[in-house]
Symmetry: C3
Subunit: 461 residues, 3 copies
Amino acid sequence: MKSDYVAPEGSGAAMHGLIRDLYPVCRSITGKGFRDSLRRLSELVPISLTEVPTGTAVFDWTVPREWNISDAWIADSSGRRVVDFRNCNLHVVSYSIPVRARMSLVALRPHLHTLPEKPDVIPYRTSYYTEDWGFCLSDRTLQEMPDGEYEVCIDSTLAPGHLTYGECILPGATTDEILISVHSCHPSLANDNLSGMAVGAFLARHLATKQLKHTFRFLFIPGTIGSITWLAGHEAEARRIRHGLVLSCLGDRGPSTYKRSRRGTALVDRAAAHVLRLAGAHTLLDFVPYGYDERQYCSPGFNLPVGCLTRTPNGRFPEYHTSDDNLDFITAESLADSLTKVLAVVEILEHDRSCINLNPKCEPQLGRRGMYRNTGGASPADFEMGLLWVLNMSDGRHSLLDISERAAMPFATIRRAADTLQGASLLRVLDNDPLYHTPGDTSSSPTGVSRSPRRARRRNR
Amino acid sequence: MKSDYVAPEGSGAAMHGLIRDLYPVCRSITGKGFRDSLRRLSELVPISLTEVPTGTAVFDWTVPREWNISDAWIADSSGRRVVDFRNCNLHVVSYSIPVRARMSLVALRPHLHTLPEKPDVIPYRTSYYTEDWGFCLSDRTLQEMPDGEYEVCIDSTLAPGHLTYGECILPGATTDEILISVHSCHPSLANDNLSGMAVGAFLARHLATKQLKHTFRFLFIPGTIGSITWLAGHEAEARRIRHGLVLSCLGDRGPSTYKRSRRGTALVDRAAAHVLRLAGAHTLLDFVPYGYDERQYCSPGFNLPVGCLTRTPNGRFPEYHTSDDNLDFITAESLADSLTKVLAVVEILEHDRSCINLNPKCEPQLGRRGMYRNTGGASPADFEMGLLWVLNMSDGRHSLLDISERAAMPFATIRRAADTLQGASLLRVLDNDPLYHTPGDTSSSPTGVSRSPRRARRRNR
Amino acid sequence: MKSDYVAPEGSGAAMHGLIRDLYPVCRSITGKGFRDSLRRLSELVPISLTEVPTGTAVFDWTVPREWNISDAWIADSSGRRVVDFRNCNLHVVSYSIPVRARMSLVALRPHLHTLPEKPDVIPYRTSYYTEDWGFCLSDRTLQEMPDGEYEVCIDSTLAPGHLTYGECILPGATTDEILISVHSCHPSLANDNLSGMAVGAFLARHLATKQLKHTFRFLFIPGTIGSITWLAGHEAEARRIRHGLVLSCLGDRGPSTYKRSRRGTALVDRAAAHVLRLAGAHTLLDFVPYGYDERQYCSPGFNLPVGCLTRTPNGRFPEYHTSDDNLDFITAESLADSLTKVLAVVEILEHDRSCINLNPKCEPQLGRRGMYRNTGGASPADFEMGLLWVLNMSDGRHSLLDISERAAMPFATIRRAADTLQGASLLRVLDNDPLYHTPGDTSSSPTGVSRSPRRARRRNR
């Protein structure tokens, strides 16, 4: 029996195609490129866009002015564009103020960013919160620029406007939420984070077809300021987040990496570790207060159980934040594998539960129920071991994930064993498991009045 | 000073001799072979046999019909026995129903079990709970059987009768019990589990000569159904089991293995780990719900502190459950070493205690008591280190096993150091150590009425 | 910004010079050599000497008679001194009773101690608590001694007198104490423990110039009997010891070693482990009840949080307790490095504190406060990471050492980050941190009556 939490056939290629579409767009933390990108994602799943006005106070920060850009270049004395935004949108420092000037190379030099140790590569630089302007270019280009006068143009606007973010909400049986957060503000960088945007959108599309226990909230936001803005406006909603994942860098050829939430032992931390351990080579990292938006979700005032799933993490691959993070750097295989791993984590978050063995004294005779081979002497099959594990550990103190970890068996197998044992009346879900006993469960409610899952949960605690 | 918990001289050879006697007997989970084997063990220690009628309900199971067999064979068209139970009792699938028929190889084939990957070896197969019949044979024999007609005979009976188990009880100063459980239902398989039967019987014989603190209960039972039957009839007794060991596969040449109880940190788990760690190469395994009768003792409704001591565990040696598990596969040395290790574990279970240092402020001056070398400058001897460890850690929160673990020194040395310090009035056993203060300790009982240790224990908790 | 807890320039050479001065003195657990050595240390820091009379009962022990020696030798029949105390004070077994006799080598032999496996080396032996006499010599010398008569002289006195110990107290803002204990009773042995005496004295001199939070107590004592004597007379003071270190063997070329206190997780244990881990090669040892005076401080009746810092520990270097533990065996570099490490531990003990992030929801915008680089895209610097760590973990449940451990960053960096954030009003010290809120903090005391820090501390717990 195949798990229903697996990336659909062809999704790797489809995600790569989506990324190819979005790659040329010049995104930043505000502006048209960001909005256009989210509209493209909306073709896959319904995403509602929220516009937050410039100047809005969000905790210690302020929503910045909106930035848009139509062109930028450096031309030499002959008028030839030696650096041209139309070739690569990394060429302009993001949030550069408009400039139109003629200046010497000496005067221009402090505004030019290169990576001398990688002479052919264009770096990615930003100046969101300090008024400045600049160009990023390959060091080789810089070395070839003769002294003399240059014409410099950045045709940008930095003006009151809005910060945009996108939300896709998939309602579940309860109002307990699972957060999937994806920063969507980087320009032509494929792994960081068009890969996360693609996996996030395809995940939403896959889950939209299912009966969900949790309500899923997908956030497509600008990095840092986006999560701060969302949290500042949604403190009540944030308290409903039971589990969360930041998705980023999911397309490169490296092994998967999971960075734990600040809590370190949250269910999502254990679920991701379990999935990665059984899948082969991987890395598990403890939380550090640097990285992506988990920095904000895991700030001590929120301390949400939000981890971060990547392949090679930020700053650990040489192509990071350079023009080498391009369409060749990511593969359809890695994207599909990442999606499958996220789905396996989601399966655990959705279906973990604590059960109680209804025949706890000695093993039940599985053989006469057709659940165990009848000729003795050889070793049991995987599924039989799954049955034995679930029976032995279902004392009300171990969840199916506990059992999967202890047995070092896939959660999907253990879940299937539990389903089989429930079907044979050898197992039942613990009464106080909130996800399994809230909606429509009026057996213990004498009045039969329907209760909101939220209230039921509170009472059960 | 030599420990009094060591296998007596010559016990390895004696155990090997016992196994040689028992090897040819065709045991199963019921029947004459099982009874005869226990009677042979009764020559070493008093074992009482209990007979449980067929059809008795034992938890989710039912005591099966009794199986006996006198002969079985497959004869070719010339009348020659190509498979003959008289040569090897593994040839018949245990619990085969009686058969007398003439049939083609094609019809016979589904009833023949071989191991194609080990062409000269006869597998061991059973069909206790499904009515069936069959033969086990070497794949080479099968390959040499020409197509054609065969005469097949299994001269067995499967009829209402009894399930038999043996008990040997060694009374101790308290009714707290130590359980030693040995499955005794396998036919001609030397390591699994004639080795366990021999070590169990010799252990009982050795302990029968001692003043015991715990009451020891040895169970010689058929696997699975035996422990289920015993537990179903002895729930009160089961609650008195403080520590337990399943003994199996103790004769092969591999290093010792201890599989922890479901609890994982029970005293027996720590004692066995301590003994094995100091003895050299070994393996420690966490509990898994597959193996021997610890499956039943450790089912969640009982959750008894029962581990399993083996050398190479079930299923981990290629000879397992085949005709290669024969008398050559086991050695007297391994049997003696296993017995010594079980005794070392038993020493800990019997003699662990928490003491209190009566001179807790700074070290006492051991030198003037003749307990410490008088010329300073060189390092202390092992026994002196034992004295220092016991003094330093005997604050009432550490038992002698805690100290042995921390010091990485044999329990026997630490016990001897504690005895010496008690003799010098520098140490006393903690008041509430139940095994040391129950029988005859009426000091705190104003009426002087003798109390059962059991009640005393409860009061002390 | 350089830490102010670093060994001052030139201190390695200065310590080596001090050791050179003290090396020839014949120290023992009592007597003139011990007193003279402490007087030499008094030139660096004020040390008060206490004299405890012979016969004083100290727990299970008695202060022994005072031992002094002026000369000792073995002369051959020609009158030549073949063993001469004036050449090396290790030649006499410490605490030898006076002897003047003529005897054969056969009669003398039981009084001669050598190390046959190191024929050129003189061992160090003592007989403090058993009346005896003896000589230590190289095995080569012994082998060259012909049979025949020898003149033997030990010109010692063993008579009622005093045991001496030295104390240097540096008062701090609280009466909570940090104990630095140094055994000072060994004769010409450079590493064990002239190195500890030198590092201890220079540490005291360095700390004497600082505003201290804790009161520091330095003990220069004879081994074993000294700490027992001090503890017997200072049980109330002992209860004020919050942290402690025994200093020994700090001059050899080996990597640093820290032996944990009996508690194992005391602040000093964690501080020393943190310092050593970041400093490179090192060894961490769990407490064992053998070694130096930590044996007494960590006896169960005291159980003080006192660890032991060495380079190569006692008994682990071949030169240990032999004439090879000489001035060439220790280096100025090792002494300076040891002093720096002790200072780094002391910095933690003095400055660890728990803070609370005053902007706990999302990160504060450090950039606009000039605390964070303004151009984004590259990785943060160490100090920026320090700021992020302090902000993220300062939820009142993590101290600066907790944060340093988690971040694997030097405590000094984390402390500086916390100071910076406190300066920016983004962080404050937790109200109930006793070392930061006791003296003069009358805000919560309505009567304004000044309280002793001691009482305040108790109330806060």
